[in-house]
Symmetry: C2
Subunit: 167 residues, 2 copies
Amino acid sequence: MVKTLDENSKGLPDHVGWRLWNASRAWQAEFAAAMRGAGHPWFTEARATLLGHLARKGTRQSALIDRMAISKQAVQQLLDGLEAEGVVERLPDPRDGRGKLVCYTEKGLAALRDGDRIKREIERRYVARLGEARFATLMDALRALDEGQPDSKREEADSSHERAESN
Amino acid sequence: MVKTLDENSKGLPDHVGWRLWNASRAWQAEFAAAMRGAGHPWFTEARATLLGHLARKGTRQSALIDRMAISKQAVQQLLDGLEAEGVVERLPDPRDGRGKLVCYTEKGLAALRDGDRIKREIERRYVARLGEARFATLMDALRALDEGQPDSKREEADSSHERAESN
DNA sequence: TCGGTTGGTCAAGTAGCTTGACTATATAGG
DNA sequence: CCTATATAGTCAAGCTACTTGACCAACCGA
């Protein structure tokens, strides 16, 4: 997206925004295709985002809501879907009658393992294409970009603060 | 998305895919916010993508369909919206009774100008954050990544071939 | 124990896609 | 010329990933 509004000379756009978008999109597509090919047809981008915030030992639904930058209802709907697919399950939180613990099922853990493998494979291919040095500088620049951005970094014991109630 | 499936040690993911996604997302958000702030509240990501393929002198609707990697109906719906907003207009193609030429309105051209300005401003800020050298290597790596990808590059006289009819 | 905050659900609406089914124009072959 | 097929566009319905609004139930602090 936002190849936007610029068309340099004859051809496609060529500014940071477009290049970033393009590269990101390519990575996604490659990853998702590999995941679906590896026997996880339920895999989608939105679900992956959510699972990325889900600790192996399980996470409170409310914690997921805090960490993802979307409404709690959206998180709930994603979870409904993942639960229906048998990837996660919602258990009652023993320490809070209201709360629910979202946990991986065996199926979910298997996907996790495949995901890690696939991710490493893609990375390997990227290194092969760019060379180690260039790949390293790429990562370095991207990290520097992220660091400057507000809202990145938020280590762990971070419940409560910012993201002050939306609904 | 796809912060996915890895959570290195304590904290957020840190692989290429995630970094790219994050950076891309940040750029988008910054650009869209600036555009809306500049008096173009109709601006969205999907619309920007489409406009990125629309030449200043106008483009055949069917050509837009070829260039964007989505269904013709999706393109049509996007155009419906943009037309309703008064950003583009659809004129009959004099050389083909079936075809329509999609053109910018004055409002659309104004957005184009603002977009270019904003894009340059963001780029300037990126350079300030990374330093010129690092910014240059970032662009270089991203370009190298794109080049390797299938379907990128498609200079101009490219009508017809690939993308063989979907619907 | 009462009031406010927190955790979660249900319902309805929107954006941005998809596929399927259809109409109108163009064009190539007999 | 006339028919067959490909091309350009439209209409309709459906899905995913979000949104806001309204609500209930459990917890917690004064």
